[in-house]
Symmetry: C2
Subunit: 199 residues, 2 copies
Amino acid sequence: MSARAYLVDDDEAIRDSLGWLLESRGVACESYPSAEDFLAAWEPSLAGCLLLDIRMDGMSGPELFDILCERGSRLPVIFLTGHGDVPMAVSALKKGAFDFVEKPCNDNELVNRVIEALKLDENRRAAASGTDSVNARVSRLTTREQQVMELILAGKLNKVIADELQISMRTVEVHRANLFEKMGVRTAVELAQLLAGKR
Amino acid sequence: MSARAYLVDDDEAIRDSLGWLLESRGVACESYPSAEDFLAAWEPSLAGCLLLDIRMDGMSGPELFDILCERGSRLPVIFLTGHGDVPMAVSALKKGAFDFVEKPCNDNELVNRVIEALKLDENRRAAASGTDSVNARVSRLTTREQQVMELILAGKLNKVIADELQISMRTVEVHRANLFEKMGVRTAVELAQLLAGKR
DNA sequence: GCCGACATTGCGGATTTCCACAATATGCAC
DNA sequence: GTGCATATTGTGGAAATCCGCAATGTCGGC
């Protein structure tokens, strides 16, 4: 499933016109007539951005946004509204919405926002993939190896680690070498930088 | 200069009433009748938050905000406005404003926002002080010591560092020991973690 | 029961780091 | 010129790390 703009609006005319507008500018687009429909189709791996109408039959845009946030969605959300409401805009943006646009709006401007949002999502995913890769490697470490790694990151000498874990220094050396191998680093410094901030 | 709420509004009645409100809730407050006046008094070390009217004679609130941002201000800003304007609210929040409140507003709510903003600023400063402390220590390092530190952080062995800097290994050892001393660390791993992300 | 993954340990040598003691050279400030 | 900060190098030994080779023991799955 490649990145695209997900358009959620209960007004078919808007779905069609916005969908056409986006497609004409080269932005892949997928439309849903209700928040419930989108929520049913949503999964964490969805990439792209979400164009969300505020007022809809059934679940409202902000309600859907809240639920997605709770479920860990990082999809950038652009709210669309027909009637300016400052508190609502403030609330949405403070919760992390990407943008809040009043209809009718400048089409060109809206497409630009969508493209910005898509780019943001792409960058986020690129950054996250690095972290994921590191986490994956850490999870492949043995229990003992993880323990040793913790102590290495605490800046302790092998002899101290051996002491604290009640094992011989030689064993620590083995675990150390193995975990370096698995983590793909050659020195403790590289290890520290690889895990910097990622926990 | 301790943390306080800086109130900028060209309406004396509002300055007085908001000032009184904040003081009565234990929030120190300082008022300015214009953006220009505040800008003249501003300095990077000011701690607290800024309550900023949108529409004023002379420089507007958003204009002042932009200038402060350019000058590196991290002061949380709460915008106050009498006439709801969604695009302006969106613009302000996307630029990093802390909040955007319509007048008249619930006094209690406003004070709570101010207190939140003050807390945010305090937390930011606490986090930054650690970074500053590290930066200060780095700046006390000799040119050579900084060069050696870079190579240590690149995970290189003393012999390699000696080679790259075209000096003897012994000299590298000296610089290494000195910079560890100055940075207050005992191992290369501690050094790596101290500087993790801070550059 | 056999096999593979994991944990453990020892030996011995190569390599590296850590450090005290000692010394030379340069550049800048007073 | 004297003094201080910085940079440089050497000797030599103690401590720590790095690593190949070899081996034992446990545990869980097939």
